[in-house]
Symmetry: C2
Subunit: 243 residues, 2 copies
DNA sequence: CGACTGTCAAGAGCAGTGCTCTCAATTGTT
DNA sequence: AACAATTGAGAGCACTGCTCTTGACAGTCG
């Protein structure tokens, strides 16, 4: 009960454990459906219980509380986004760094538009009163940025970057932050590029969020994908990727 | 009762109307406090009623429902942000376009960090089931982007823009969207700059959202304001503003 | 074979929510 | 002073998260 490794060992062995795992998977699946259609704030354990054909208190046998279900859904969504992004990136030739970057951006946008509520859970306003347990959400939650950094670092090492079209001074405190990151991840990219990479990262999600959350007016852009492609091209150029 | 103009006429005349306006203002103020501390999803009309020292059903005399209170708070927050931004922009010399742009960016960030929950209401995940009435929220909600566009257009007309450091092809559908915008607002800026302006806009809010919503890790950046200043400098360069 | 243990679903119940309705009281106007 | 508009109180409905107790079932052990 207290040893997760032992749990994992027996999870698939006894029929009871199998049934239990199946029920939890069902709960997550139903929760994901509710989340996708109504949003995080409207996620209700009672509604999940109803769909499961069970009384409301029964789900507490499988999920401690609403926050834990939220955590499961958070991990679920992060993982799906991470899979989508990595699949798209790996579909491009290994040395086509610009293509890999754009594939990453398009994958994020496509997934976000297909799953607006789940995207909102990941990148929108935090759910009030809910604090994500970093130990469980950080690994799946960092896959996209690690993938992006990997592309940048790979391109830099391969000498595939033209001079970044625009850089700015990196002050000292920021420089030491970047040095820590470089050390932890074993990167080669210099400060200016790493700082620009951070801007590319936030800009990518800023553009996607504006589109998903409807911050552009209702009919301001008739072809939002063209706007996004333009943004991707400019962002690629900002790191020296864009040929 | 059905003529808003007549309502506006009498709003301050009769003592009853005055008391009514005061009560509504109190409700908005209390709602803003709750919103600021707990977030939009936790906003409760009953809690507001309690703080107002009145039974829950009484507030429905002044506010039709929760959604209308949300609309009032939305307008309230947009207006405060718009005021903060315009004040900061106007504090800079009229022809210091780069300074005005950076003042705008810093004002957005400062307000957002001071009012994270209200910022989340404006730029985070949409509240499930709530549809903002465009007629009431669009005017206050467009002040920041209009201010940004005004700076860009002014700089362009004044010939104060160096060649934008990075542009990309603007495809046809996007170009006609931009043409519409240019026509509606009476702008002079060409397609490339306007498209870059849109990217600057989303990037600015993307950077602010990442910081406010805690998307950077807890201790990834020890000096987030330096990171933001760097981003601002690069974004300024993207439109040709940055010296 | 019988008893025992662990797991599970059901139901009642508490405190909270948005919202509607009725009724009585207060208030401003005529 | 009499009337009408406005307001607050209270009850009530349907919903939420969550806890606790109770009874039923399974597998296991003496």
């Amino acid at each position: 009960m207290s040893d997760p490794a032992a749990d994992a060992e027996t999870t698939l062995r006894t029929p009871r454990a199998r049934a239990r795992a199946q029920t939890i998977a069902d709960i997550v699946r139903l929760g994901r459906d509710h989340l996708a259609t109504q949003g995080a704030a409207a996620l209700s354990l009672r509604a999940v219980a109803r769909d499961l054909g069970v009384v409301s208190s029964a789900v507490y046998r499988y999920v401690a509380n609403r926050d834990e279900l939220l955590t499961l859904l958070l991990v679920d969504a992060y993982s799906e986004l991470g899979d989508a992004v990595e699949t798209a990136v790996n579909a491009m030739p290994e040395r086509d760094f610009d293509g890999r970057f754009k594939a990453l951006g398009r994958a994020v946008r496509t997934w976000a538009l297909r799953e607006p509520a789940r995207y909102g859970l990941l990148f929108g306003s935090p759910v009030p009163g809910y604090k994500a347990p970093a130990g469980r959400t950080t690994p799946p939650g960092t896959r996209v940025i690690y993938s992006l950094i990997g592309i940048l670092d790979g391109a830099y090492r391969a000498g595939a970057l033209t001079a970044a079209s625009r850089t700015a001074v990196v002050p000292s405190a920021l420089s030491s932050d970047l040095e820590s990151i470089r050390g932890e991840l074993g990167l080669a990219v210099p400060d200016e590029l790493l700082a620009n990479g951070a801007l590319v990262w936030t800009s990518l999600f800023g553009a996607v969020s504006f589109e998903v959350f409807g911050q552009y007016g209702a009919d301001t852009f008739s072809a939002p994908e063209e706007l996004f492609e333009h943004h991707l091209a400019v962002l690629a150029g900002m790191t020296g990727l864009g040929a």
